[in-house]
Each structure stands twice: as structure tokens, then as C-alpha cells.
Subunit: 339 residues, 2 copies
DNA sequence: AATTGTTGCTTCATCGATTGAGCAAGCCCG
DNA sequence: CGGGCTTGCTCAATCGATGAAGCAACAATT
């Protein structure tokens, strides 16, 4: 992996020698503030032409070392296995680049230690700012970064030590639950309590969604059953296993359910297929999160799609300091209408 | 975004002052070669303790600037909107980190100019190596990097100027087509030609898959129809539109089809739903690529899953120089068996 | 006692880009 | 013609980490 010696990288000193000028003139021209440094436009043009011919590429390590801002921005993300995080990352990258920032992204697979290790690595690379997305322990990341004078912003899951941008989980869950309840009522002719599957009971999003879930039940005068709330984690296998256990315990399961993520839904649908539990009548499902294939799975599934563009707009509002002192921004998710 | 002044970052000079020693001793201790530089273990322990207490983080920009290798490894990836690229990125990150490399990843949305811009940015950050995944113009990336003395490896789509790791598209497509043809025969009692939907006719993967598609037809003594091969691009809308046009032109469409990616499949399924074309009898589908929700979509869909772990093993074999002079590595995809 | 070897450090140049300070040449004005 | 101003550059210190070279102190050997 050693660099081939003949392909030595060009530096501003090489360009300076070729142009018969000094390195500082080259530097000034190439980073665009040659006007301020009173370099003549003839020399500027000449330097730019030579840099072009030589295929010069700035050495960012040297540049960042010297400057006080790196223009590097880090994002920590739990997984790449669903559309939600995929679109967050894709849009984040694009928006960062638009602003002349260089994004570095690390996937930490919901592992708290990896999150910290990733944050530490980012600090070593002199990031100006870290976005902690869906972090299991956002405040620990914030504290670590704060000690190095680096700002953080929480996305998807809130923390209390840094500004946070999240979905309006309560309103989203309320609306989603209402719809599933209504679909059940339409089919069964009566109101019945739903099941809640997936997520961690300890995380803010899940507890807010459970609150919305409960409120929707109360609105129509029924009480949600506590042992139907299965906050069993996000993994498909966990959801599958919980349903299995519950079915063994109770016999018949509720006709409708609220599923807390597409990734949990994967386990739910698989269990439904395998167990044959709902073979007579398909259950009514509401899924908090969107996936285009789920939309094609059947008409019995309602989804809300978290509003990634708005969420990232809010994140960059904070970064660009357009949103001075707001601690928590909640973005209403989009209710998908069945085509 | 300016660094808060009181939270000035600690450097090895600060640690040296605190330990009453020199910066070079601190450096030697912290990067682990203090044995070689004959630092006593007492001093080493003391320095490590102080670094710990002070929350010291190495300045990578300075470190990389000084060393001849950066241990930074770049990956260019087209999209995050499917499981295939998602798992490539996730696994790549993990494997890179295992080897002490720092991964930087850029999503270029199948835009050739962005690909080049991304490669240039990576060169500025002194990457040791670039993996070009599914690049539209891999050789241009290779040439640009080669000029800076940086190796590249192509993944998913091959190039001719650098080693490439791809799926065995021909064998995979052959096997997939065989299965769909057999499923059709079982249902219809006779052999019928299939449709091919999605991908770009100009890319190597698509043309190899078409070759496998044709070969499977010939094996059972039938001829694939040329106007049933719709290499219309990868976007869902393109697939949808192509099917619409074809249906208008021909009336009935074939009972079976080969779909070139999950992302094209999205458009195919949507069109099937909307048009009602296959309302009497579901079509037999084979999809080159895997998505867990597609697996749940119905029993009429066969999939092959590209073997991401093996592909990345091959990539790192090349990086670690265990695979000296092989130009093209083809990895057989996994035929998913319907549960 | 003189030489050689070993241990445990320190000194200093260096990587490439940035930028404050400085300087020479030309111009203008009284 | 001398002083001040502008233009168009160059010089040199600096960012933080690294490692070759060097040096002092002591031990071992002849």
C-alpha cells in the first residue's frame, strides 16, 4: 500500500517553482482569497492554469492543520438496513457538500461503545460538528465532544445536553393508531384494543409513540391492554419471538397492531406467514416508518413516513445558527395514504 | 462554528509539559512504538495516565501529514436506497475498522461528475485506496487516482484499469432464469419466453445477466424475444413506464419476468398493482437482488442475493495484497429458497 | 584506565498550507 | 524632490506529530 515513488504528489511549492513565484502566492490564488492578498489576475490565471495542468490536489491534512476550522462534519448512524436511515444519510451528505462541508459518516450498529469510539475518531479528525443519529446514549457523545469544544446535534433520538431534532412521535403515533383503530372498527363493527410491537421501552421515541397509542385508544373510550405492549427491541427476530410467546400465552391475538419500525415489521410479517395465525382474516397494521415494498404488501397496512427533508433542514438551521436557542425540534411525520 | 477558546485541544506538547518530558517521548508512547524507542515503562505508564486524565485525542491531520500512509480508505457508492448497497457499506466500514483503517464513504447518486468530484475530494484527504462501487465510469476514477499514486478497486461493476470484484452475473442470471422458466412451465404446462426488466444495457452486469437470461431460454429450446428485453435503467419509474409502453404495444405481457434489481422491482410491482394487468393470474418473477420485504410479498417471486460478505473478503484480499495479480474476481450470488 | 555498549531520553527538521508582517517599486501630491 | 499611499508580491513562523540523529549517564569489558 506504499505510495509509488514516481507519482509523488504535487505541492504548492512545486507549482510555485513552475510558475516562478512563491508558495504563498499559489496558496492565496488556489484558496480564492488572492483578491484580498492583492495578487494580480495575470499571476492568478497563470497559477490556476499550471495547477490544472499538473493535476494538483490540495493536501487537506496540511490545510486543516493550519486553519482553525476543518469544515469536516461527522454523522453517527445506527444502521443502513432501512430506508429511513438511508435517506437521512443520503440527504445529509448532499446538504453538507452544498455548504462546502466534508461529511464523514460512521455506522455504529446500535452499539454504545462503538458510538463513543466513532465519536473519538471523529474528534481526532478535527470535525467541527457531530450529528448523533438514533444514538443509544446521545449525552455521552455530547459530553465527549463538548470536552474538545465540538458541538453536537441529536437527530431521531433526543438527548438533554444538546439540541435535538426528532419526529413528532406522539402526534404521528396518535394519528397512525386512530387510523388502525378505525380500520378495525370498519371490519369488525366494534372498537377493539390494538397490540404495540417493537422498539425499546426506554427510548424517548418509543415511549412517546406508546403515549400516542394510548391516547388514541382513550379517545374512543377503550383502554389499551398493558400486556399487549411489546417493546421488545428493533430486531426482526425479537418481534417474531415476542409474538410467538404472546400467542402461546393468550391464544388469539388482537385484530390490529401498531408496529414501531419497518425493521420490526419484517419480523411481524414473517411470524404471521409462518404461524398462520391470521390465516382467516388479515390483521390491520400500522407501521411507524415507511418502505416502498411494504406499501406494496397489501392494503391492510398504514404507514407514517418520517419527514427526512424537514428534519435535515432543521439540523442545518441549527448548524448555520439560524435557530439560536431551541433545544428540541419536533417534525410531524407524513401520513402515507394508501394508493 | 468557531471553536470555544477555553476548550483548547490538548496536544502532545501539553502532555509533555505535564509529564515533565519531551513531546517526542509522548508521541512515541502514544503511538505504541516506545519499546523500539527505548522509553522506560515507568515513563510510558505515566504518560498514558496523564493522556487519559486529560482526555487527549491525537490530531490525525498532523499525524497523517507527517506519515507517508494515511490509513484512510475511501468508498464511492451510488445509493443508500436498497439493501445491497446498504450491506456493502455497513460491512466495508466494519472490515476497514478491524484493520485499523478509517473509512470515508461518499454517495454519488449515479452521477458521473459527482463520482469524479468525490474521488478528487478523497485524494485531497490523502486516502491510501479507493473502492469504486457500482461506478458509472470506473476507469475515469482509476485514472484520476493513479495520477496521484492511489490504488483503486472496482466493486459491483467492473472496470478495465483496476482489479474488479463483481457478482457472477451470468451464472446467477442463468440459475434465476431457469427457476422462473420452470415455475412458468409448472403453471402453464408449457415453456414460454420471459421478459427482462431494468438495468442499463450498456453496463457489464446487465449485459451478462441478459446473456444468462438468453442461455437459460436456449437450454430448454426456446428463443427469447428481443423486444421483451427492457434495459430501461434502474429507477422504479423507468420500469413502470417501460411496462406501460410495452403493454400498450403488445396487449398481453409474458407470464414470467426477470427483474434486474429490487429498485426496478418496485416499479414493476407498482405497475402490476395499478394496471391490473395480471389480475387473473399473478406473474412469475425472478429478481436479481434481495430484499426481505420482497421475500414476504408472495411465493411467486424468486430472488438471488449477491454475496456481499464474500465480495468484500475479495476486496480486502486485494487490499492486503493476498491476491496479487487477479484482474477480475467473480462471486457467485446466493439463490434464495422460498420459505 | 580506556574503550565499547546500553539505556533513556531530548533536539530539531520535516510534512504542506496558511497568513501576518514586511519590502520594493511605482504613483501621486504638494 | 521628499513623504505618503498603493500595488504586488515574498519571507518566515506556525499548526501538531513524527523519527533520525545525537547526547549524557552509567555498566560492562579488556
Amino acid at each position: 500500500m506504499k505510495r509509488v515513488s514516481q507519482a509523488k504528489r504535487k505541492t504548492i511549492y512545486d507549482l510555485a517553482a513552475l510558475a516562478g513565484t512563491s508558495a504563498s502566492a499559489v496558496s492565496a490564488v488556489l484558496n480564492g482569497n488572492w483578491k484580498k492578498r492583492r495578487i494580480s489576475s495575470q499571476l492568478a490565471e497563470k497559477i490556476i492554469r499550471i495547477a490544472d495542468e499538473q493535476g494538483y490536489a490540495l493536501n487537506m491534512q496540511a490545510s486543516v492543520l493550519r486553519r482553525d476550522r476543518s469544515n469536516i462534519i461527522g454523522m453517527i448512524v445506527p444502521k443502513y438496513d432501512n430506508r429511513y436511515f438511508g435517506s437521512i444519510v443520503e440527504r445529509f451528505e448532499a446538504m453538507a457538500r452544498e455548504r462546502g462541508l466534508f461529511p464523514i459518516i460512521t455506522c455504529t450498529r446500535r452499539d454504545p461503545d462503538l458510538e463513543i469510539e466513532a465519536a473519538r475518531a471523529m474528534l481526532s479528525y478535527q470535525v467541527d460538528c457531530v450529528i448523533a443519529t438514533g444514538a443509544t446514549d446521545p449525552d455521552r457523545i455530547t459530553d465527549l465532544c463538548a470536552a474538545a469544544g465540538v458541538r453536537t446535534i441529536n437527530l431521531d433520538l433526543p438527548g438533554s445536553h444538546a439540541p435535538s431534532v426528532i419526529s413528532d412521535n406522539f402526534q404521528g403515533a396518535l394519528e397512525l393508531t386512530r387510523r388502525v383503530l378505525a380500520n378495525c372498527e370498519r371490519e369488525l363493527g366494534q372498537n377493539v384494543p390494538l397490540m404495540f410491537v417493537g422498539g425499546r421501552g426506554t427510548d424517548h421515541n418509543t415511549s412517546e409513540r406508546v403515549r400516542g397509542f394510548r391516547t388514541a385508544h382513550h379517545e374512543i373510550g377503550i383502554t389499551p391492554e398493558e400486556d399487549l405492549i411489546l417493546a421488545c427491541g428493533y430486531a426482526p427476530e425479537k418481534a417474531e419471538q415476542s409474538l410467538k410467546v404472546l400467542a402461546e400465552k393468550r391464544g388469539a391475538l388482537p385484530h390490529g397492531m401498531f408496529v414501531n419500525s419497518t425493521i420490526s415489521l419484517e419480523g411481524v410479517i414473517r411470524w404471521i406467514r409462518r404461524s398462520g395465525h391470521y390465516s382467516e382474516r388479515k390483521p390491520q397494521i400500522g407501521c411507524f416508518d415507511f418502505d416502498p415494498f411494504v406499501a406494496l404488501l397489501g392494503e391492510n397496512i398504514e404507514m407514517v413516513r418520517q419527514d427526512v427533508p424537514k428534519m435535515l433542514d432543521a439540523v442545518f438551521d441549527i448548524i448555520d445558527n439560524r435557530n439560536p436557542e431551541q433545544k428540541l425540534v419536533e417534525i410531524m411525520p407524513i401520513v402515507e395514504t394508501m394508493a
